[in-house]
C-alpha cells in the first residue's frame, strides 16, 4: 500500500475498532459518495445543456479527471496528473486549433467536467471496490449527457477496468478494445492486489466487458501474461514481431467499424524508471 494511499484507509479501520458505531461511518461514506456523484452529474449536465443549446454537435469530447495513483506498484504521481495534463493542453506555446482546424475552445468540440474527488473519498475509508463503482458511475453520468463523450484523464492504469465496465454497461454489451501498451496489464492479482494497475484487463475480461481485445505494442510480458492472454482469448501483438504484423493491424484499424474503444498508455520505454500517465480514449464516431 502506498504512502499516499495508506492514510485514508487507516483512519476508518482504526476508528471502527474503537467502538465508533459502524453505521455512522457507513452512512457518512455513502453521503460523501452521493455528494461526489452529484457534483459530477451537475457538471456534466451544465455542459450537456450548453452544447445542446448551441446545437450542431454530434459528439463533444468531454474531459473527466481521475486523480488516482495508489494502485500503481511503482511511481504514484498519476494521483496528481489531471491538473497537469490540462495545464499542458492550454499552454501558451501553441494555439487551441487542432491540425485539422477544430477549435478546442468551442464547447461543441471540447468540454471539461472536472475531476472526481478521488482522494476525498479514499480519505473517508472507502475501499477500492466502492471507489471503482464511483468511477464507473461518473463515466456513465457523462455519457448520459448526449452528445458528450468522455475522455478520461488518469490516474494509474487500474482505472481502465471501471471505465470499460461503464462504457459496456451503458452501451448494452461487450465492446471491442484496441489496447496500445508495452504491458498487457493482465496479471490475476499483481502483488496480491486485484485492482492493481497491472491487473485491470484481467478484471475486464472476467467481467465480460470486452468482446475482442487486441493488445498492440507489448514488450514486457512474462509467462503469467501469456497464459492469462490465452485464457481470455486476447489477441496479443508484440513489438518484436511488429514488422510482421503491421500490415494486418493497419488494415484492421482502418476498416473495422466494430472497434469501439481505444486504450492508450503513454509511458517511457519499459525499462526506464519514469512517471507515466494513462489515458483512456473513447472513440465515439459510430454510435
Amino acid at each position: 500500500m502506498s504512502i499516499i494511499g495508506r492514510r485514508g484507509i487507516h483512519f476508518l479501520r482504526k476508528l471502527s475498532a474503537e467502538n465508533v458505531p459502524s453505521d455512522l461511518i457507513e452512512k457518512g461514506q455513502s453521503r460523501l459518495i452521493d455528494a461526489s456523484l452529484t457534483l459530477i452529474r451537475e457538471s456534466a449536465k451544465l455542459r450537456g445543456e450548453l452544447v445542446r443549446a448551441l446545437g450542431g454537435s454530434v459528439a463533444s469530447t468531454s474531459l473527466l479527471g481521475v486523480p488516482l495513483g495508489h494502485n500503481s506498484s511503482f511511481l504514484q504521481g498519476p494521483a496528481f496528473a489531471p491538473p497537469r495534463i490540462r495545464e499542458a493542453i492550454w499552454c501558451g506555446s501553441t494555439n487551441s486549433t487542432t491540425e485539422e482546424g477544430k477549435e478546442l475552445r468551442d464547447p461543441r468540440v471540447l468540454t471539461d467536467v472536472g475531476d472526481i474527488p478521488i482522494q476525498e473519498i479514499r480519505d473517508c475509508g472507502v475501499e477500492d471496490d466502492r471507489l471503482m463503482n464511483v468511477i464507473s458511475e461518473s463515466v456513465k453520468l457523462v455519457m448520459e449527457q448526449d452528445p458528450l463523450r468522455p475522455l478520461v484523464l488518469g490516474g494509474d492504469h487500474s482505472i481502465s477496468y471501471p471505465v470499460v465496465r461503464a462504457v459496456s454497461e451503458k452501451l448494452g454489451g461487450p465492446v471491442d478494445i484496441l489496447h496500445l501498451d508495452a504491458h498487457p496489464d493482465i496479471y490475476d492479482a499483481f502483488e496480491g492486489n486485484v485492482y492493481s494497475h497491472a491487473s485491470s484487463f484481467a478484471r475486464i475480461m472476467e467481467g465480460g466487458y470486452a468482446r475482442r481485445l487486441l493488445q498492440v505494442g507489448i514488450r514486457s510480458i512474462n509467462i503469467e501474461g501469456r497464459e492469462q492472454g490465452k485464457r481470455f482469448g486476447v489477441e496479443q501483438y508484440e513489438m518484436r514481431t511488429f514488422s510482421r504484423d503491421r500490415h494486418f493491424l493497419e488494415n484492421l484499424v482502418s476498416l473495422s467499424l466494430s472497434l469501439s474503444l481505444l486504450l492508450l498508455s503513454v509511458s517511457l520505454p519499459p525499462s526506464v524508471p519514469a512517471p507515466c500517465v494513462s489515458f483512456f480514449l473513447y472513440v465515439c464516431m459510430y454510435f
Copy 2:
C-alpha cells in the same frame, strides 16, 4: 489573467454572446456551486461526527484545500499546491508524531476535509466574487462541525480575504490578526484586480473583518503600501527595524489572549523568483 485562469471564464462569456439562454448558464452554475458546498458539508460532517463519537477532543485541526492560483500576478503553481502539501505531511521520511508528542494520525488531533473543487467551479464561468463566497461558505461549513478548526491550505494569498471574512462572520465580530509576510498585500487593486493576491488585506480592512492587524516581517513595501497601512490603521513592523521591535513583539504574542488569527506566508526571500505557498493558520486555543 493567467493561462490557467483564462479558459474557464472564456467559455461562458462567449456562450452568452451566442444566444444561449443566460438563465440556463446561471442555473447550472448555481447547481454546481450547491453540489460543491454539499461535498464540503458532508465531508466536514463525517469528520465532525467521528471526532465527537471518539470524544475527548476540544479542538481538532481540520485541513481544507483551496487549489487556486489565478489571482497571483507571478507564478500560479499554488493552484496545484494542496495535494503536494499533503504528500509532504505524510512523507515516509518521518513519523506522524509532533515534537510535543501529538499523534497526527489520531482524528481527534488532525482531520482532512479535502479540497474545494475550485477549478471545476471556475471552468463554468463563475466569477471571482461568487468564487470567494464559495470559499467563505466552505470555511464556515467546517467551523460548524465542532470541534473541527479549519487549517486552510492555499492557494495564492488572495484567499486570505474570504477565509478571514468567514471566521469573522462566524465568530460574530472583527478579529485580531498577526500577519507574518514580507509583503503587506494591501494594494487597493493590484494590476487592476481587486481580488489580487496583493490586495487581500485591503479587502479585509474595508470589510471591517479585522479589529487589529499586525504585519510583521515586511521587506517589500512601497509608497502605496505605507499609505494603505496608515489609512486602515495597520501596525506594520519591517525587517529592517526588527531588532528594535523584537522585544515588543515577543511580549505581545506570548501574552495577548485576544489574538485570534495567524496568517503565515511561507515564501523565499522577496527578490528570488520561486514558487510560494500560502498557509492560513487558524489558532483556535481560546474559544
Copy 3:
C-alpha cells in the same frame, strides 16, 4: 510586454514626461546605436580581412548573435540564447570537425562576429522599429565583408523579419524562402504586436522581401493563419499531408537553384511548454 522587456522602454518614456529635453534622449540613443553598429562593423571587418588574407575561401559562415526575447508571447529565454549556443558548439564532448571533414576552427570555414548589444540599446528606450533597423544594418555589415556569410543566432522568431529584409535589400530583390516550422508566424499583429514572433512573415510578405515562401512542417495553424497564407500567396505544406507532399518537396529542394534562404525554427513539439531557439540559416552557395 515581458518582464525583461518592460524596464528598458519604461525609463525613457517616463523621463520624457518629466521635462527632460527630448533631443537629449534622441541624440543619446542615436550615438549608442552608432556605437553598436561600429562594434559590429569592426568585428566583421577584422574577420573579413583575416579570411581574405588567408585566401582560398569562397564563403565563410559567420555567426551573428541577436540576444532578443521580448517579442515572444511565451517564454523569453531566447534573450539569453546566443552565448549558450556557442557553448554547445565548442563543447568538449566532440571535436570541431564536421561529418564531411570541414575544420570549424579554421576561420575560412567559420568565424564569429559576436552579439549585437540588443539589451543595451533597448534599455535606452529605443523602440522596436529602430531596433529592427539595427538588426538589418548589422546583417548587412557582415554581408559587406566578402566572403563572410551571416548565420544569425536568435533570439525569438521576430528577428526573421529584419534579417530577411537585410538579405533582400543587399542582394537587390526578393528572395525565395524555405521555412521549416510548426507555426506559420504570419498573424497580422499577434496580441496587438506587429513585431511579434508570430507575425514576422506577415511583415516579410508585406514588404515584398520574398518572391516565393514555402512553409513546410506546419502543425499549429488556425483560420487567420490560412487566410493570411492565401492573401500573400504562401505555399503552406502541413505535417498531416506530409507523406503526400514529400516527393514534390524533396525534388524542389534538391533541384531549385533559385532557393536562396532557409529559415529553420528549432523547437519542441507545439503543445509542449519548452524554451525554443530560432536560427536563421543563410544558404549562400550560389551567389
Copy 4:
C-alpha cells in the same frame, strides 16, 4: 585554459603563424577595442546626461556587466552571469522599492550601462593584459559621468584587479578595501595564471592600489595564502575566530570614513561544487 576561453585565442595565434600580416591583426584588435569602449562611453554618457537633467541626485548606482569566466579554475558560468543577475533584479515576484523606500526604477537611484563585450574582444585573440585594460577603462568611463557610481556585475573574481585599479587611478591614490570572501584570492599565480580569479588580490597589492586590505570571512586558506597575506600586510580575519574579532570589525566598519571599497563575493560554502557569482560593490557615499 577553459573550454569557453580556448577558442578565441586559438584563432589569431594560429593565423599569425600562417603569414597573415601581424599588423593587420593588431590594427583590427585595436579598432574593435576602441569600438567597445565607445559603446560603453556613449551608454554611460546618455545615463549621465539624463540623471543630471533630472537633477537632485548625489550618486546614482550604475550597473556595468563583465561577462567573463575564463580565469576561473573551476566552473566558468560567470561568463553568462550579468544578464541573469538583471533578470533576478527585475523578477516579477517583488516590487522595485528597496526596504528603505528607494524606487529602483528611478534613474536617479539606479541606471544600467550594459555589458562590456568581453567575449567579442577575446574572440579576436586579445590577451588578458589588454582585456584587463578594457575593463579598467570601462569602469573609468562610468566614473567620469558624475553622479554615476559603478556597481560591477561579474564575472569571475579575476575582475577585482582591473576594477580596483581603475577606482584607485581615478581617485588619485590607493583605497581601503573590505573584502568579504571565504577565499583570500591572493595566490601569486594560481595554476600558473597571473590573472587567475584566485590571484586578483596579489595583483592589487603589487600595484599599490590598496592602502589597507581587510579580508573577512576567510575559511579556505593554505600556507601560500597566509604568507602572501603577511608579505603584503593584509589584515586577514578568519571565520574560525570570528566571534573573537566581531566586536572590532563591527566598530571598524561603522566608524571608519576612510573605507572606500567593498568587495563582496557571494558563493556557496567552500566545499560545495556550485556556480558562484562575484560582485564588486562600490561604496560611494562619502567622496
Copy 5:
C-alpha cells in the same frame, strides 16, 4: 525489502530450493567474505605502513566507505553515497587545506581505505547478520593499523550498530556516545526489521556497547522512542528544549574526556522528503 536489496537475497534462496547443495553456496559465500576482508586488510595495511614510514603522525583519519542502503525504510540512495562524498571532498571549488591549516593531501592527516564491497556480498545471498559482521570486522581491520582512525562514510543509519560494536570490542569496553540526530533510531524493530536504520541504537544498547548515550537534537520522536529511551537509560535532549539544555550540553562536550564517540546524522529537516547521508565520526584524540 527494497528494490535494490530484493535481488541479491532472492537468488540464493531460490537456488537452495532447487537442490543446489547448500554447502556449495555457504562455502562460496564464506570465500567471498574472506576475499572482501582481505581487500580491506591489505588496503588498510598499506596505508598504515605508509603513515608509519613517514612518521610523526599520532592519528590519521582513514575513510572507510559502506555503500549500504537497503535498511532504510525511505530513500535508499545511501547505497551510492561514499563515492559521491569523496567527489565532494576533492571538488575543485576549494583547496585541500582545513580552516586550521591541516593539509588533507598529506596521508599523515587523511587516508582512504576504500569501500567495503557490500553489494557484491549481498548479491551472493548473504543475510544481514553476517553482513553486519563484515562491517564490524572491516572497522577493526582499520583500527589495527595504528595510527589509522576510521571515519566511516555511510550508508544508511543501520551501520551505526556494527561500527559502534567494533569500536567497543576493539577498545575493550563500552564507550560513551554523543549522537546528534533528529531521530533517536531506537525502535525495537522498525517495520519488523531488527537491522532497520531506525533501530540501530536499540541494538547498540542491548549489546552493552555504550556506557552512556546522549542524543541531542531530537525532533521526531514518538511514544516508543521515549519508552525505549527510558528502558536503556538514554539521555535524550530534544530541540524544543534546546535553549534550556544548551548550557549543560556545551559544558559537557568541552570538558568530558570520557566522550569517545560522536555520531553525526546529516539530513534535511524531518518532514522534508530528501536524500540523507549518515556519517559515523570516530573521535580518537585521547586513546
Copy 6:
C-alpha cells in the same frame, strides 16, 4: 588529469619522493591488486558453480562492473556508472522478463560478478598500465568460469582496450569487432594520454587483438581519425553514407559467424554535452 583521478596517483608519487622505501609501496600495491583479483575470482567462481550445479545453461551473461572515469577527456561520471546501470535494470517499472521470454532473475540467464575495486587500486598510486592489466585479468577470471560470459559495464571507453585484449588472449587469437559509435576512438594518444577513452582502438589494433574492425555510425571524425583508420585497415562506415552502406552491413551482421565481439557505445548525439556510458557487449553464441 581529472579531479577524480588526481588524488590517487598524487599520494604515492609524493611519498616516494620523501624517502619512503619504494618496495614498501610496490609490495603493498601488489598485495592490494592480488586481493582485488581474489575477490573477482571468488565472486565468479561462486556464480560458475551455481550455474553448473543448476545445469542446462550453455552461456550465462555475467555482469562485471568497471567504475572508471579518469581517462575521459570530458565528463567523468562513468566512474559512478555500474551501480546506476544495475539500479535501472532492476527498476520496479517493469518485470524481469525479456521480450523473448527469458527470465533475468534465473542465474542460468544472468549473473552479476560485481565491480572491480578500481578506485581503491588507483588510490594506492597504481598507474594505468597495471590498472589495465587488472581489468584484463578480471575479464579472464569470469571467462574461466564456464558457462559465464562477461558483459562489462563501463566505465569510460578506455576500457575497451583491456577487455578486448583479455578476450583475444583467452580465445587464442585476434577477434572480429563490430564497433557501433559516433567516434572512432582511434587517436594515437589523445591529449597525450595513450590510455585515453579516445585512443582505445589504437591500442587494440597495435596489439594485434583484432583481425577485422568494423566501425559503424561514425559522425565525429577528423583527419587523424581517418589516417589511423587507414593505417590499421579499419573498415569505417559513417552515418552520412549509411543509407548507401546499409544493405551491405545488414547482410554482414546477419550472416557472418566469425563476428565475435560487439562494442556498443551509448551516448547522446556528439554535439550535446551529456553524460555517456559505455558498454562492452560480448557476443558469445558461437564458441
